[in-house]
């Protein structure tokens, strides 16, 4: 892994990968949108509102996936002092926050017609809201220090502490009584959801993942350039 952690090598590598991930994002999302909106049946109970699921569930998966990735990067950043690991967490945070926001709002838009309420303070919804605040808190913390290294270190600690929230979100539907339905895809004994709905779900999830990789690579490139500018200004200021 250390070979890829060199920023100059990363810039070359990411330039080679980016066209592929960008292309995959476009194709997967176009196909995903088509089968989500047109190519899949409406639910016999929920009617067309089931189509909200193809946005809501992949966004929820991504909100956790991105967070776990950031926490792993935070651990690497703290232990091995990897500049790229710190930058990854910083670059991924707004994307993770965006997915969490999409998850929360689409959940609300789905809950309003199906549950009869926009919001309830139950375990699943509250723990996801906490995840959203963890993202926002991390972004605020990283930018709160004059010294960027102190900022990322404080942010990394927050990410590692906040990881306890991840299993709480995942198992909240099993541990507590909640209005939210239990898992129907990632569960012991295989998915209980019908294939005609599982396929659009998975295609959208892959599309979101490709989107995440593309945007994070772009953001990492920007962060590396930004660091370079900082060092150049610093060496100039020191004469």
């Amino acid at each position: 892994m250390h070979r890829f952690a060199n920023p100059a090598r990363f810039q070359r590598l990411s330039a080679a990968i980016l066209p592929w991930t960008a292309g995959a994002t476009v194709i997967l999302l176009i196909v995903g949108l088509y089968i989500s909106l047109i190519g899949s049946p409406r639910d016999y109970q929920q009617g067309d509102t089931v189509r909200i699921m193809y946005i809501h569930v992949p966004a929820a998966w991504m909100s956790l996936f991105v967070y776990v990735n950031m926490a792993i990067a935070a651990a690497c950043g703290l232990v091995w002092k990897h500049p790229l690991a710190d930058l990854f967490a910083k670059a991924a945070a707004p994307v993770g926050a965006g997915f969490t926001l999409i998850c929360l709002v689409t959940g609300s838009l789905w809950g309003a017609p199906m549950w009869g309420t926009w919001w309830v303070w139950d375990a699943r919804l509250t723990s996801v809201l906490i995840l959203f605040f963890l993202y926002l808190g991390y972004m605020a913390l990283v930018n709160a220090f004059d010294d960027p290294q102190r900022g990322t270190r404080a942010g990394n600690v927050l990410l590692l502490v906040g990881i306890v929230n991840v299993p709480i979100i995942k198992f909240s539907v099993d541990w507590w009584n909640t209005l939210h339905q239990p898992a129907s895809v990632i569960r012991m004994g295989g998915p209980t959801i019908d294939g005609s709905m599982l396929v659009p779900l998975l295609v959208m999830a892959l599309g979101f993942t490709a989107y995440f990789i593309t945007v994070v690579l772009l953001r990492l490139r920007a962060e590396i350039v930004q660091r370079k500018i900082q060092t150049m200004r610093l060496t100039e200021a020191q004469g």
Binding site: T106, A222, I229
Partner: protein, 72 residues
Amino acid sequence: MTEFFAMGGYAAYVWSSYALAALVMVGLLAATLKALRSAETTLKALEGSRPPRRRRARNGAAASPAAEVGEG
């Protein structure tokens, strides 16, 4: 076609979900690209102004380093 847009009476909920997701994702991508472009432009400008600066620093030992900072 109208049936498609009506979404079985749930048009407001379904379409606002998809619109929000599109808005967040496209907005984030646009902001990212904008930040990347501006950072690259700044870097290029800095690198472009660097070589003459170095030469000047080598030749004119009398020039105070503090005077150069302000130009950046």
